[in-house]
Symmetry: C3
Subunit: 321 residues, 3 copies
């Protein structure tokens, strides 16, 4: 299972694949480490020698300049050497040839794989098959998980509203297809968040959504009442074409966050979004740029969280055999 795969015998972080099942103490320990990393990123010399001489390979089977860039920056600020390897997911999904690629990179003494793949479970699969001294970080796999995104989100919330037990957090949008939402819900539940809501049309909700430990709302205005944090999900254009949604205009009409609707939430409610925003689809520009928006803080914290996860996972690696 994930848990034993992620932690080693002494309970330290080995791989970082999913938020699901992560012990409360480990999750808080990552957030605390990220807190110290934010200190590095605002110094004049934004670099620490923690991972000097380590090699981190970004294995991106699906393109994502944005996520790759944050991992690359995080690695460089830890003084690691970074190798960007773009892989064709079709060519390497035939298990055996993917394994051959991994074996070769291992043989080049790569210390960590940061994996992005359109198929759920790829990072797990890789973690199960790498040599014992190699570390794996999941940078998003299919609909399954995007754990560093979820951690930067709860890190951002904690900096503003640290008492999770008293918070009501609403996640709005395409829950059905979102690895981000899945990871966020796990993280918020582990932190014993007072209430976690999901707000979406029925067509964008998984059938078993209630079992996630969330309260479901189909109406945005109902769902926003008294919330402390509103997390808007990015709407993928593909969903419109596949018939899950009528049009961007319709979506915005029913689920777009406007200034007026935001006033239904608590007066100091935070507005969050994993980016990049579709302005006028998920929210109005006035909301995106309002003082309540912490969307750019999320980007900054993404560097700190990735530095934390990378340095913790590589802290105790044995020297290669």
């Amino acid at each position: 299972m994930s848990l034993s795969l992620q932690l080693d015998a002494s309970g330290d972080l080995k791989h970082f694949l999913t938020v699901e099942g992560l012990p409360y103490e480990m999750l808080v320990s990552i957030l605390d480490t990220a807190e110290s990393m934010t200190g590095v990123t605002v110094r004049s010399i934004k670099k620490v020698p923690l991972l000097r001489g380590k090699t981190i390979a970004n294995l991106f089977f699906e393109p994502s300049t944005r996520t790759r860039t944050t991992f690359e920056l995080a690695a460089k600020r830890l003084s690691a050497d970074v190798l960007n390897i773009a892989l064709d997911s079709a060519a390497t999904l035939k298990g055996e040839s993917l394994l051959d690629t991994l074996r070769n990179l291992e043989a080049m003494y790569v210390d960590m794989f940061v994996v992005r793949h359109s198929h759920s479970g790829t990072a797990h699969f890789i973690a199960q098959h790498v040599a014992p001294h190699i570390r794996v970080v999941n940078a998003g796999d299919g609909r399954h998980a995007h754990p560093t995104q979820a951690l930067l989100d709860v890190f951002t919330i904690r900096r503003h509203k640290p008492d999770f037990g008293s918070l009501c957090v609403a996640i709005v949008g395409d829950i059905l297809h979102s690895r981000v939402a899945r990871s966020q819900i796990h993280a918020l539940n582990i932190l014993l968040t007072g209430e976690v809501r999901v707000i979406a049309p029925r067509t964008l909700l998984p059938v078993d959504v209630e079992s996630f430990g969330v309260r479901v709302f189909y109406d945005l205005e109902d769902g926003l009442r008294d919330v402390d944090v509103v997390i808007m999900l990015r709407l993928q254009h593909e969903r419109m074409q596949s018939g899950h949604l009528p049009s961007e205009y319709e979506y915005y009409h029913h689920y777009g966050l406007t200034r007026d609707r935001l006033q239904i939430a608590k007066p100091d409610a935070l507005v969050m979004h994993p980016g990049p925003i579709n302005r006028g689809v998920e929210m109005s520009s006035s909301v995106a740029d309002s003082p309540q928006s912490v969307i750019l803080e999320q980007v900054s914290h993404g560097i700190a969280i990735r530095m934390a996860v990378m340095s913790m996972a590589l802290a105790r690696t044995p020297t290669t055999p």
Copy 2:
């Protein structure tokens, strides 16, 4: 205006966007700093720790391996971390989405943007909108300016013929479409060059060219008489297709620099070109490779000028807020 945008309250370099309006002292100060940087590039260890821990993002909206490479090398030799970001100019020109991209990179604690764009004014636009601690360097925008190229050109001239007041410099070729020529003319005028000439067919001259403070020649041989420096511009193949020019052969016949024609200039006249040369179009191979050619020196000095501009602009940055 550009001036207040480029210099801070104490007159130090903040952004480097254009040569136009640059105070004489600042231009000389950049050349002097570049002089000390040439010392770094010939040492056995070609690296100084001036920008260690700084992150420089190359934002190239139009491809240019050559210019990007020189900026990348300059940044690495200053010990900065470099991020190469290829951007689709079509997708990001809708102001808002360009700004969102910038805000995101700012949030990742990037310290400097090196910007290349096919639209005039993009680097200015970015400099006007970035956070106060971010620095912007223009690596070429539309027909407007290519200021580091112009500075490496006058730097190269100064190393051979430092008394600008007594010099006659001729710029030959497609003045109309050349951001390089515009920036060169500004730099030469700021340095109080004795005479600046432009030599070109009428179809390749702007209508208001006389207002640039240059003497205009339509005939190459007339224009070359007694010049100390001949700067040949690169001929873009697109010009031929657009009807501005009959053919490469015709162009070379009238405006190509040959051994014979070069003899009309002063005996020790320098031959310059921003590269890459079209041999047999702008000049003959014998001229390109002659002892009077300082074309490869220009390339070397390009590294020194970029190191100077980057280190000066980032010398006094406040720590990020």
Copy 3:
């Protein structure tokens, strides 16, 4: 000739272009240096400052992520700055424009070119034309040579079976088109290997193959008898289409290394392959993953050999003029 091109007046390594004609002492010296480099790659901090401040440009005129990656990692572990330059072989093969590209990179104070090209002799041509302080390493040129591959192969053999005089080594597959095989044969002969065999169908053997100093077998089972090392070459898919071979299935049937056939060789025979393996074409998966296979060791040793060659070639470079 190659020899005088590769070694300087005092017999030190200048360029590394081919194994052919390399003195025994130099070959052993590279292997010994690589031995010390393997120590670096297994340390916790896999980095030595040997090439700090040096700039190494990977000039890849034909794409090869795998080889480029190993050179890039080797350079970074020596603390060099790396520049990856993808070049279009068509555009730059007109001698003059290739030279202009080289002159420009020289002017940027690049210290070493690592060259990969589909035309035999390109690395030699470049070495003949670069400035005296520049070093060139051949990363594969046409059908001619792939010298770092051959050296990592004999390095891998030496670690297991150091007494070359008593060894029988068989190279199996497409000898005709293989730069790897050519370089391996030279290296094995310089090390005075007891017997070098080539095993291939007539259509995949050069007409003058006997002159290489090898014993020729057309039948795999005959050729495998009593060998200490079996080197399987990669089969290029293009060969099938060009009519050199009937089909992959046919090839495997006659020349594929299976468990049964491997038993014809000595019981402790090593199985080698330059990678990436076509499982079920050159060999069965059971052979590729068997304890006799040292294929992944070859990959690791590739880093050490490249670190050795790069550091030796750049050890004594004069400072740029």
